[in-house]
C-alpha cells in the first residue's frame, strides 16, 4: 500500500503537465469554495448578531444625519395623538458626562410594547417587547399609566452603570423636559442583550476618552396607553437606517396606517439578506461544481490521450504479473492522491486568502473568520475533489486495462 502510494507520486514526475493541469483546476475550485462559503457564513452570522439585539416588534430609527428631520419627528411626536403607535415608546438617553446627568437628545427608538403592557403582570418573568427576562423588580401594570411619575424598566447593565452597587429599584432617571414624562422610576431590571453589552462597551470607551466612538444611548422602556391596534402582525414593523427621508416617509405612512414599501421587519431584513447570501453561495457552489466537473472531464480527456503513452506501462505491469484489479487500484490511488493534493493546496490557498482579507472585510476579524472555518467546509472539497478525480480517472483506466497485452507492449 505504502509502496503503491510512493509509486503513484513518482508517476507524477512522469506526467507533469497532466498532473499540474488537474491540480490547478482542483485548487481553483477548492479555494473558491472555501473562501465564498466561509464569507457567506460569516456574513450571515454577523447579520444575525446585529439583529439579535432587536425585537421584531421594534421600530428602529437611529443614527439620524439630518437634525431637521429629527426635529420634525419630535414636533409631530409631541403634537399628534400617537394612537398609531399605540403600544409605547422608548426614550434613548444620551449619557452626557460622568455625573450621570441625562438629557434626552432625541426620540431615536420607538418600541411597540403591544399587549404585553397589560398581560405583563400575568407573565411577569418576562418583558414582552424584548422577550428578555425580568431579573428582578416587576413588569408594568395598568396603574403605571395613571401615575404622575412614569415608571421604567431598564437593562441590568445600564442599572449597574448608572447606580453602581446601589439597588436600582425605586431610583429615578431624569429625562428631557420636552417629553411627556420627566422622571422615570425604575421598577424592573431586564437581563442584558448583546446590543446592550455593546452599548456598555462603547460607553466605557467613551468614558476612557475615546471620543471618536459613537455616543452611546440607553433604551428605557416605559408603558403607554393602549389604543386602537392597527398593527396586527410583526410584518408591519419598520426598520430604517440612517436616512432621514426614509424616517419621515416611514412616519407618514405609519400615521396613515399604511404599509410602507421600504419597510421591513427585523426578520424580513435578516431573512432577505441571509437568503440572498445563501443564494449567492449556492450559485458560487454551482460554479465550483462546474469547475470540478470540467477539471474531472479534462482529466478524463487528458488521461485518454496520455493513456497511449501509459499503455506500455500497463503492458509491462501486466507482463510482470499484475492483474486488472491491481492496475486499476494503482490508477485509483494515483488519481485520489492527485485529488487530495489539489484539495490540500486549494485549502491552503483558501485559508491564506481568508486570513489576509479578513481584516479588511466588513465586521470580520481573523478570529471571527476562523469561527466559520468549520470541518465540513474543509472536508467537503477534499471529498469532492478526491471523488471527482477518482471517478473521472476510472473510465480511461478501465479502458487501458482491458487492452490486450501484446498490442499494448507494441506501442513502444
Amino acid at each position: 500500500m505504502l509502496n503503491i502510494m510512493r509509486n503513484s507520486i513518482s508517476i507524477f514526475k512522469t506526467h507533469k503537465v497532466r498532473t499540474f493541469l488537474t491540480i490547478v483546476g482542483i485548487i481553483i475550485a477548492t479555494t473558491v469554495y472555501l473562501v465564498v462559503n466561509v464569507y457567506a457564513d460569516a456574513l450571515i452570522s454577523t447579520l444575525s448578531d446585529i439583529y439579535e439585539g432587536f425585537d421584531s416588534h421594534t421600530i428602529l430609527i437611529r443614527d439620524y444625519l439630518d437634525k431637521n428631520a429629527l426635529k420634525e419627528i419630535k414636533a409631530r411626536y409631541e403634537k399628534e395623538n400617537y394612537s398609531c403607535f399605540n403600544k409605547g415608546y422608548t426614550v434613548n438617553i444620551h449619557i452626557a458626562d460622568d455625573n450621570v446627568n441625562f438629557d434626552v437628545e432625541a426620540e431615536l427608538t420607538f418600541v411597540k410594547l403591544d399587549f404585553h403592557n397589560y398581560s405583563l403582570p400575568s407573565i411577569d418573568r418576562y418583558d414582552g417587547t424584548e422577550r428578555t427576562k425580568i431579573l428582578y423588580g416587576r413588569a408594568f401594570n395598568q396603574d403605571d399609566l395613571k401615575d404622575e411619575i412614569g415608571v421604567t424598566i431598564i437593562h441590568s447593565g445600564f442599572a449597574k452603570l448608572l447606580f453602581g452597587d446601589n439597588n436600582p429599584l425605586g431610583q429615578y432617571i431624569k429625562t428631557d423636559t420636552s417629553l411627556p414624562v420627566k422622571r422615570y422610576m425604575v421598577v424592573g431590571i431586564l437581563s442584558d442583550t448583546p446590543d446592550v453589552l455593546r452599548t456598555i462597551d462603547t460607553y466605557n470607551k467613551w468614558q476612557a476618552g475615546l471620543k471618536d466612538e459613537k455616543t452611546p444611548f440607553v433604551p428605557l422602556y416605559t408603558p403607554v396607553e393602549y389604543g386602537e391596534n392597527k398593527w396586527e402582525s410583526a410584518d408591519d414593523t419598520i426598520i430604517t437606517f440612517r436616512d432621514s427621508d426614509n424616517v419621515l416617509g416611514a412616519w407618514y405612512n405609519i400615521r396613515r396606517g399604511m404599509k410602507w414599501e421600504n419597510a421591513y421587519t427585523r426578520e424580513s431584513v435578516f431573512n432577505e439578506i441571509s437568503e440572498s447570501t445563501k443564494e449567492f453561495a449556492e450559485i458560487v457552489n454551482l460554479i465550483v461544481l462546474v469547475i470540478m466537473l470540467t477539471t474531472g472531464l479534462s482529466l478524463s480527456i487528458i488521461l485518454i490521450f496520455s493513456f497511449k503513452e501509459r499503455l506500455p506501462e500497463i503492458g509491462i505491469k501486466k507482463a510482470l504479473g499484475a492483474n486488472d484489479g491491481v492496475i486499476l487500484f494503482q490508477f485509483f490511488i494515483e488519481n485520489i492522491v492527485m485529488g487530495l493534493l489539489g484539495a490540500l493546496c486549494g485549502l491552503a490557498v483558501g485559508l491564506f486568502v481568508l486570513i489576509t482579507t479578513a481584516p479588511f472585510a466588513l465586521q470580520t476579524t481573523v478570529v471571527t473568520m476562523f469561527r466559520h472555518i468549520t470541518w465540513d467546509r474543509l472536508l467537503v472539497p477534499i471529498l469532492m475533489s478526491a471523488s471527482v478525480t477518482s471517478a473521472f480517472g476510472f473510465i480511461p483506466s478501465l479502458w487501458g486495462v482491458k487492452q490486450n497485452i501484446m498490442s499494448v507492449l507494441r506501442y513502444e
Binding site: E313, I316, K318, A319, A322, N323, V326, M406
Partner: protein, 214 residues
C-alpha cells in the same frame, strides 16, 4: 517446471507465423530456440510466457493445461512462475533502475521480496552503480542486464529470454550465458532462450530450430 507445447498455431491476419509447433521441455533444462529473423521466435515465446494466446493448440505447465481465457490465472503465472527477459527490455523509462527491478513486487498483491537475492543479482549483473539512474539514459547492454535482473528477482521457475545477449559484447554475452546455465543447474530452473546465432549451441541441453524438425 516441465513445459509442453502441443500443436500451437498462430497467425497474424492471413500470415501464418507458427504452424503446428510441438515442444517438450523438461524441468531444469536449458532450452534454445533458433531461427532467422521474423520466423516467429518471439511470437512463440510470448505464447509460452502467457503474454499472447495461440489460435490453436495447447500449452501445459507441469502437465496442467493452461486456459488462455482465465486472465487472473494467467496473471498469477506471469507474476509468480515466469520471468521474462524481453527482446526490447520493456523497462519503464522514467523510473530508476532500482524502481524497475522492484516493479514485479508492485504488481503482486503479496510481498515476496528477498533482499539477499536482490543484492546477489545486483552483484552478478554489475548494476550497483546504475541503481539510481533513470532507465532511459542507460545503454542497450545496461538495459539488458537490468531487464535480466528484473526477470530473476522473483525467483521464477520458468525463465524466458528473448535474445538476452543481443546487445552485449562477446565477453558479457558469454558471462550471461554462463550465468543462465548456472541458474539452470544449481537452482533447477527451466530456461527457454531465443537466439539467432549458433554460437551458444554448447550451452543448450536441447534446442528447436525453426524451419527444421527435431
Amino acid at each position: 517446471m516441465n513445459v509442453k507445447v502441443e500443436n500451437i498455431c498462430k497467425s497474424f491476419k492471413d500470415k501464418k507465423v507458427l504452424n503446428n509447433i510441438n515442444l517438450q521441455i523438461c524441468n531444469a533444462s536449458f532450452f534454445g530456440i533458433k531461427g532467422n529473423s521474423g520466423c516467429g521466435k518471439s511470437t512463440l515465446l510470448n505464447i509460452i510466457g502467457l503474454l499472447d494466446k495461440p489460435d490453436f493448440g495447447n500449452l501445459y505447465f507441469d502437465d496442467i493445461s493452461i486456459n488462455f481465457k482465465k486472465q487472473s490465472k494467467l496473471a498469477f503465472y506471469r507474476g509468480n512462475k515466469i520471468g521474462f527477459i524481453f527482446q526490447s527490455y520493456n523497462l519503464m523509462p522514467k523510473l530508476s533502475v532500482h524502481e524497475n527491478i522492484m516493479l514485479p513486487f508492485l504488481c503482486l498483491n503479496k510481498d515476496r521480496f528477498d533482499s539477499s537475492l536482490f543484492d546477489k543479482l545486483i552483484e552478478t549483473f554489475k548494476i550497483k552503480e546504475l541503481l539510481y539512474k533513470q532507465s532511459d539514459v542507460l545503454s542497450g547492454g545496461e538495459k539488458q542486464r537490468v531487464a535480466a535482473a528484473r526477470a530473476l528477482v522473483t525467483s521464477p521457475d520458468l525463465i524466458i529470454c528473448d535474445e538476452p545477449t543481443g546487445n552485449l559484447d562477446s565477453n558479457n554475452a558469454r558471462y550471461m550465458m554462463e550465468l543462465l546455465r548456472d541458474i539452470c543447474i544449481s537452482e533447477k530452473k527451466t530456461i527457454i532462450m531465443v537466439t539467432h546465432s549458433n554460437e551458444y549451441d554448447s550451452f543448450f541441453d536441447n534446442f528447436y530450430s525453426f524451419g527444421e524438425t527435431i
